[in-house]
């Protein structure tokens, strides 16, 4: 496998719920809408989705409840068997795996965090974290070492012998996170991991999560119904509605250039200046005089410079080392939330 192969790739994936989904899908006419399918007695959990996630990337799947985002991630991990299409993990079609191979794949490559934590109530924190290691038959000593390390990583040292019910929601989810990381997975699925937490704790857990991701650099599929959370965390966002993906793009592009009206509705309330980065607005190859601003700075953080600098364009240092030119008027329009 070469390094360009996407870690997860989905091609025209369908997941239908109903009495006989395979047969239905094979005779279903092209272009049937969600409502058409429903009136035939089927629910389209995932509807013709194609996307790729590359190594080290964090894809956030965003959608309201019932939009199929949880179903989609369960198709990636084959907690659901898909009805049509192909899901490949590291280039391998996971529907072709037999039961043993699937278990092996999960034991070696995948970790998952759940919305309501999914902790085993009769096991201590340490035993919960060590659970996947125990399942793959690691010896007691090694799994204890590893579990302790994970517990420390999520900042629960001293609580190893507590039972889940003795922990707060935030702490329980830390256990969930530690457990999902215990086997050192390459792929990390997080299904609305912070939705069950109250807002303050949620913010704290997001920071914690970003810290972990900086350290570990996993390939991540993160599910949320909270658009702000998506913007804050994502490399790319996939917005779902009725089982289909409406748009997959970087947060900047989604805010600046929503593909559909549905997406646009989400972006309306967003403060674009705090999402859009200088590098996205910059025109490449033009050289401009003056002190360059960093390309990964948001427009909001450049507000003072944009207002005080009198030149038409401002130099930007792009990630690849070249410089670009930022149109000051365009940037100000973003800053003040004006439509172009």
């Amino acid at each position: 496998m070469d390094s360009d192969t996407p870690v997860i790739s989905a091609e025209r994936v369908w997941k239908l719920f109903g009495p006989n989904p395979e047969a239905y899908l094979s005779r279903m006419p092209e272009g049937h809408s969600f409502e058409d399918i429903r009136s035939d007695g089927y629910i389209a959990g995932v509807k013709d989705v194609s996307l790729e996630v590359s190594k080290g990337e964090m894809l956030v799947i965003m959608g309201l409840s019932g939009s199929g985002k949880s179903t989609l991630v369960r198709c990636f991990s084959r907690l659901h068997d898909i009805t049509g299409g192909v899901v490949k993990i590291d280039g391998q079609d996971i529907m072709s795996l037999n039961a043993t191979e699937l278990i092996e794949l999960r034991r070696s490559k995948m970790g998952m965090v759940f919305q309501s934590f999914g902790l085993l109530p009769h096991r201590t924190v340490l035993e919960n974290v060590a659970f996947p290691l125990e399942m793959r038959g690691q010896d007691r000593h090694a799994r204890r070492e590893r579990a302790l390390e994970m517990v420390r990583l999520v900042g629960l040292d001293g609580r190893e012998d507590y039972f889940p019910r003795e922990l707060s929601g935030g702490q329980q989810q830390r256990v969930g996170i530690a457990r999902s990381l215990a086997i050192e997975p390459n792929i990390w699925f997080l299904d609305e991991p912070f939705s069950a937490l109250d807002p303050l704790i949620r913010r704290e857990m997001q920071d914690e999560f970003l810290r972990l991701q900086d350290m570990l650099g996993k390939t991540i599929v993160f599910i949320t119904h909270d658009f702000d959370e998506a913007l804050r965390l994502a490399d790319r966002i996939a917005i779902m509605k009725d089982g289909a993906v409406e748009q997959v793009d970087t947060p900047d592009k989604i805010v600046l250039d929503p593909a559909t009206e549905y997406v646009a509705k989400f972006t309306e309330e967003v403060d674009k200046a705090s999402v859009v980065h200088a590098s996205v607005l910059a025109r490449e190859g033009e050289s401009v005089d003056g002190e360059p601003v960093p390309g990964n700075a948001t427009i909001l953080s450049l507000a003072r410079r944009l207002v005080e600098d009198r030149s038409d364009t401002i130099p930007v240092s792009l990630p690849d080392g070249r410089t670009g030119a930022l149109d000051r008027k365009a940037a100000l329009a973003v800053l003040f939330g004006e439509k172009e």
Binding site: S116, H122, S180
Partner: protein, 662 residues
């Protein structure tokens, strides 16, 4: 689904319901009207409709007997059961040896009573603090002091064998039913029948296939105690949260690992509740196995009641109740007991404090009892039993003129004005009237399915050939349940208005429900001796428990906002009760009523030994011989009547709940 479509659906539902209501009324009125007409025209209608003639009744009993003997001899089931019987006998003998020194393997001495009492106190302390310690220890001290140790141990030796079997087989069947829909669908009706099958129908096959004595008692007890274990296992496994299941699968569990590490531990509470049920039903049944000659507390109680030794009966009754409460509380405490974590570095002995304490207590009392024989065994002469004194006391009390006047009046009044007229009326009714009326009631309560069931089942009762006796059984249950509602409802309504009273009432009912059903005969016999009233009174007390319990629970369960809304709408207390609380509580009350009927059918059969003239009496007679066929035709007459009511009431409750959106 959008709200508007839901509203549409509900409106359509309501319209359909109102059209349905008029149609239901027509059908019910037609059925009931026809039934009444038949009764009025009794002298002129064909005699077939009055009673099925004898030559129209098929020889079910003979056929069943032939079937059983085919199973037993031609298929060779008897060899299988006799082998099982050997193993079970070995186990019950071993338990008997340890508990009361029966001369069998492993030929240890009987455990001194003080050891058992002290160790159960430690167990009680571990599970639920000093109260439970006192209860558990106190029960065994009482048993020993009353000179009932050996009988209690005879009873417990059967329980000790039956409960693990009932638990394991129930768990296994529950897991199979959870895995396979088809198996569950096949199992459900069997469980329904087992739930309503009179206990004599457990006893006789047990005797025939497993010989008289502890083995047959164990088999009957195992079969009887298993159904709730199966149901609780299914419920528990279904209730494991999807997140936990998916977490297990994502952790790479194999199927076996899923079951062993994820499903079973997560269903722990329900499985242990199932165990609690197994223990309680086992106790209830093992007491009844007295009827097939199993020695123990039940046999003694039966003997004492038969010879009208009220004092002794009372003492044994107290022991049985104490045992029931102890076993119930201990197993329930285990359900709620959560593992506690220890701080890092807690020494080993502190982590296993209670285990060590238990071992130490065992050794201490074992040693002590070697030197102090009184701690080993309390003989009859040393016991504190005051049977004859209590006897004189009770008989003296009942002999006081005004007490006697009251009991005599009650006896006269009920006999002359309630029991005899209603009984004669029910016997007067043509068979076909009863069938039609029951069908009508079934339709009224639950629509065509319960109606069909009632029609078929009551026709079957007629066809089985014990119609008059079946009517006597039905009469006792209907009267007793009606009286239970008459007395129980006001009590429950009174309690439900008060926070503390409701809590006490539910507690009292829950405790009373753990008593083996046999016990309920005791107060009835004490008050009225051996008369028809006694039977009704015993059923009445027994069935009042579920009636009161579920009425209180239903009324208390009405959501706060709704009663507050009623208050704000200016409802008086009575208006609130009749217009708001009762309608909302009805489904729950119906559950209680249903239970009351099942209990009543159970109790009326037990009461046979007092001397009734109904199905139970005939069934009891079959115990003396090998009339398996007759036993089962009688048993199924009860099952059919009980199930008709059960299905009708349950479907009514379910429909009501749907309408109320509960």
């Amino acid at each position: 689904m959008s709200d508007s479509t839901r509203v549409d659906a509900m409106r359509q539902g309501a319209e359909a319901a109102s059209i349905g209501a008029t149609r239901t009324r027509t059908i019910v009125l037609t059925l009931i009207g026809a039934a009444i007409l038949l009764a009025v025209l009794k002298p002129w209608i064909p005699s077939v409709l009055v009673r099925l003639p004898d030559d129209a009744i098929l020889p079910w009993a003979d056929w069943l007997d032939a079937g059983f003997s085919w199973l037993q001899n031609d298929i060779g089931l008897i060899h299988v059961t006799r082998t099982i019987s050997g193993w079970l006998g070995f186990l019950t003998d071993a338990a008997a040896n340890i508990l009361y020194g029966k001369a069998r393997w492993p030929r240890l001495e009987a455990l001194p009573w003080s050891v058992v009492a002290a160790c159960s106190a430690v167990l009680g302390f571990w599970l639920g603090g000093w109260r439970l310690a006192l209860l558990a220890g106190g029960t065994f001290v009482w048993t020993a002091l009353m000179g009932q140790w050996r009988w209690a141990m005879e009873t417990l030796s059967v329980i000790a064998v039956a409960v693990p079997f009932g638990f394991c087989i129930g768990l296994l069947l529950g897991m199979c039913a959870w895995k396979s829909r088809r198996f569950e669908e096949a199992l459900r009706p069997v469980l329904l029948v087992l739930q309503t099958l009179p206990f004599y129908s457990y006893l006789l096959p047990a005797v025939i296939f497993f010989k008289v004595g502890p083995t047959a008692a164990s088999v009957a007890t195992i079969v009887y105690s298993m159904p709730p274990m199966i149901l609780m296992t299914i419920v528990g496994l279904r209730k494991v949260p999807p997140d936990v299941v998916e977490a297990g699968r994502m952790s790479g569990c194999t199927r076996w690992q899923m079951l062993r590490y994820v499903f079973l531990p997560s269903a722990r509470s329900e499985i242990l509740v199932g165990l609690n049920q197994v223990i309680m039903l086992a106790l209830a049944m093992v007491v009844l196995t007295a009827f097939i000659g199993m020695p123990g507390l039940g046999a003694k109680l039966l003997a004492m009641m038969n010879s009208f030794k009220l004092g002794r009966s009372f003492e044994i009754g107290v022991t049985i109740v104490l045992l029931a409460v102890t076993l119930d509380r201990l197993s329930k405490a285990w359900v709620v007991k959560q593992p506690e974590h220890f701080e890092r570095g807690t020494p080993w002995w502190q982590r296993h404090l209670f285990l060590l304490l238990g071992i130490a207590t065992f050794m201490l009392f074992y040693l002590l009892s070697q030197f102090l024989p009184i701690l080993d065994e309390i003989g009859r002469r040393q016991s504190l039993s005051r049977g004859s004194e209590i006897d004189t006391l009770i008989k003296g009390f009942l002999g006081i003129s005004w007490v006697k006047a009251i009991t005599d009046f009650i006896r006269w009044f009920f006999n002359i004005w309630v029991l005899i007229p209603t009984e004669l009326a029910l016997l007067f009714l043509p068979t076909f009237t009863v069938i039609l009326a029951m069908t009508g009631i079934g339709y009224l309560l639950g629509g065509w399915f319960p109606a069909l069931v009632a029609f078929l089942f009551f026709s079957a009762v007629a066809q089985l050939g014990w119609w008059d006796r079946a009517m006597l059984t039905l009469h006792s249950t209907l009267t007793a349940v009606f009286l239970a509602m008459l007395f129980g409802m006001p009590l429950a309504i009174w309690a439900a208005q008060r926070e503390r009273a409701s809590r006490w009432m539910i507690f009292a009912c829950d405790t009373a429900q753990t008593f083996p059903s046999f016990i309920y005969l005791l107060p009835a016999i004490m008050l009225f001796g051996i008369t028809p009233i006694t039977v009704i009174l015993a059923i009445l007390i027994y069935t009042m428990v579920p009636v009161v319990r579920y009425t209180v629970e239903g009324l208390r369960g009405v959501p706060r906002e709704i009663t507050e809304a009623a208050d704000m709408a200016g409802a008086t207390r009575w208006q609130k009760l009749w217009k708001v609380e009762f309608p909302l509580a009805m489904p729950t009350i119906a559950v209680g009523l249903n239970q009351a009927f099942i209990f009543a059918f159970f109790m009326v059969i037990i009461a046979a030994f007092i001397g009734t003239r109904d199905l139970g009496q005939e069934m009891q007679r079959t115990l003396a011989g090998t009339d398996l066929g007759k036993n089962f035709t009688l048993g199924f007459s009860v099952v059919f009547m009980a199930l008709s009511l059960d299905i009708a009431i349950n479907s009514w409750a379910r429909k009501r709940r749907e309408i109320l959106g509960q």
